[in-house]
Symmetry: C2
Subunit: 448 residues, 2 copies
């Protein structure tokens, strides 16, 4: 929701060309808040306001605008000015942003971006989506190991004015091979020992990521080691970029949302729900719904095979939904436990046997409890305690079958390199539906 | 999986009391890797190894042990030494850890923790779980606004040896009211201007959290503003702690797992799947399964009401699973979209009407597609094109009903201050099951 509190004042300042007040507005607050107060302005009004502050602050405030507004500005405002602005944006953010801008506009803008930044954009764009290379930024504090602490402090003082982060300073040799790292804390703490060489101070055992690594794995490593940033290296161990803590938080949140979507049988959305067109939503949901409908048709055909038996014992029909939902629910619970366990790193593929045994035990116990309740209800509804036995026996079998299928299918998916979250709740439920109907009818034939 | 590569060597070093090599082992690698190599050692062997390094490195390596091992060490090793170790641990981590240790042991350990740290533990323990106060650490870089840049650098050089992070330095007045913040970068960049006052350099517009804030909201704020750490203040605006980026990543991952569990109709687990006892799992799953079973019993009773009609048109039975799963699946998709949208901050309660309209449109379109497929299948299976119309009409109505219920129920839950993720997939499905059966039979009665 745009904050409209300051809009009239801002527009008045613009109308009066009140430079001093506009300049003050741009620096008084945290850039994120300044951006919020500007939400309601049009693209050109926003740009007019941003003329009253320096390039660094301008790109920072711009960075906090909603993506829709950023795209609007890049697409509609003066190309030359936007080319310059793109050059000032953080390297990782501008690549992500340009992906969303009309390709025709990008083609016109790119030649207007300063040469060095343009090369950087083309290099980063070359990395496949969701890899470390695509998330990293190329802006980082870099020093030679032959500097002394005093020289390093002076050099970092210079770099600090241009860089976003100097919390980790990376030490490289003449050919840009990553050699080590000193933290800003170490450097400040070593201030008394001006002549110590950085090479003696630095940590050599670094946790690194490769440009081709999956972003989710990198995020897990950063979380495991509590890092502020992780250096990204190529195959020859050249330092090509870093991934910072804020991008890691974004990756973790994005991946959680993607998993949740797969889990609910929806192809993950690229943007927010309200920004996604109805047609895209239809497509991302429809493909799964149609697949699941065909699974349900199997159930119908399976029931059709037993039509004679269903006619003989009419009350069997009443418990079809109960039987299949017991299996589906316990199955989705198991799938949830296993998929979340894999994501959090609490379980691995090697634990499969232990998981299967635990799920078997749970299936028996949970199935037993549900069977007992279902038996009472069935006996009351049917009025025949002996025939009613079909229901609890089926529930027990279906629940065990649900826990085993729900837990082992995601492991199988992971084993074959597929995303275990694709074993969505509705998918597990659909499989159990068919199996459940067959078990139900076979149990009925055996008991009645 | 413990890394057993170094275990024999480590045990030999311990047996030979090879101090130099043990000391080297403790510092050669990143503490997280050192901890991994020690995974296979017993509690007392691990402690024996850690004797060969200084207290800072010792608590750092200890911090990377698996929680089970940490608990084992605290519970079984010499109480006095463990009391000292607890004093050295980061304030937030030790409070979390002590929560898992046998309360009797904690009672014996606490008096052995140095007085200042003990008071700190008691203070942090007082904050309710999942609040900012419970996640924050009390260790932070703090300066008075009357210092000059040179004095500040000297003071921070002293504090840097003891603190985990000095990336943000908080500026307070004499009564510890939070006044502002300077970043290490600003301080280093200002090194030329030794006599500038910190008060002139600092940012005054800070993003803060209150001790009582929900940890999930705080994590969202940190992600929104790309912060490295957020200061936590009490009602009188005293600076009481900070929450750092690594804890925020942990909160985001934890909350995602919790949401996934609720979504799969399981009460969130406190520890990993394999660490949770079967009985706990039974309880956390069983309560929901029993609730869902009762919902399914309703469906059985609803079907019972229509027994006469089901006898008249026997083929109706075949499509019961299909009809209710179409509704359940589209309903869980809608619930997933809305809950994820709320979590990611893409939608708010105010959007409810827009969401309802979008879901209505999707329900009509998706329902239309599914109805068309279902009609063909039904006509084939029944062999009567006119009667078969019951199936597609029902599917359309049930899908629309599913998308509306699935999207609006989570919003309703949020509206009344409940966790929308409680509107789990199985729960939405259970509601649609009952409604679906009633719609199905009413449509049949109307058409046939």
């Amino acid at each position: 929701m745009p904050n409209t509190l300051y809009l009239p004042e801002l527009r008045e300042m613009l109308a009066n060309d009140d430079r001093a007040e506009l300049a003050e507005f741009c620096v008084a607050l945290h850039s994120a808040r300044t951006a919020e107060f500007m939400e309601g302005l049009t693209a050109s009004e926003s740009w007019a306001v941003l003329q009253h502050t320096d390039a660094t602050n301008r790109e920072e405030i711009f960075g906090y605008f909603e993506q829709d507004k950023q795209i609007d500005m890049l697409e509609t405002l003066d190309r030359t000015e936007m080319g310059q602005l793109i050059g000032d944006l953080p390297p990782d953010d501008r690549v992500d942003l340009l992906q969303e801008v009309d390709p025709q506009v990008v083609k016109e803008l790119l030649p207007l971006v300063p040469a060095e930044e343009r090369r950087d954009i083309l290099r980063l764009q070359a990395y496949p989506e969701d890899t470390a290379g695509a998330v990293m930024t190329t802006e980082l504090a870099r020093l030679s190991e032959s500097l002394t602490v005093r020289e390093a402090l002076e050099e970092i003082g210079r770099q600090a004015r241009e860089l976003e982060t100097i919390y980790y300073i990376y030490i490289v040799d003449d050919e840009n091979h990553l050699r080590g790292l000193v933290s800003a804390r170490q450097l400040v703490a070593a201030m008394g020992h001006d002549e110590t060489l950085i090479g003696e101070l630095m940590e050599r055992d670094l946790v690194t990521a490769n440009v081709g690594d999956d972003q989710e794995d990198v995020a897990r490593t950063v979380a495991r080691y509590d890092l502020l940033a992780i250096p990204v290296i190529d195959q020859e161990h050249h330092l090509v970029g870093i991934i910072t803590h804020d991008d890691v938080i974004d990756v973790v949140r994005e991946e959680a949302a993607e998993d949740a979507h797969r889990f609910g049988a929806i192809d993950p959305l690229d943007v927010g729900y309200l920004q996604t067109s109805i047609l895209t939503l239809i497509w991302k949901r429809g493909m799964w719904l149609v697949l699941l409908l065909f699974a349900a048709l199997f159930t119908a055909f399976a029931l059709d095979r037993y039509e004679g038996d269903l006619n003989k014992w009419k009350w069997l029909v009443l418990f079809i939904p109960l039987v299949i939902s017991s299996g589906g629910n316990s199955g989705s619970q198991s799938a949830t436990l296993v998929i979340t366990g894999l994501t959090m790193g609490h379980i691995t593929l090697d634990d499969w046997l232990r998981i299967a045994l635990r799920e078997l035990a749970q299936g028996l116990l949970l199935g037993g409890v549900l069977a007992a309740i279902a038996y009472v209800a069935a006996a009351v509804l049917i009025g025949d305690a002996a025939s009613a036995l079909v229901v609890p026996v089926t529930v027990l079998l279906v629940v065990v079958c649900g826990t085993l299928t729900g837990s082992l299918l995601p492991l199988l998916f992971r084993r074959f390199g597929l995303d275990p979250a694709m074993m969505s709740t509705p998918f597990v439920a659909a499989i159990i539906d068919i199996v459940g109907v067959v078990i139900y009818m076979q149990v009925a034939l055996a008991i009645l």
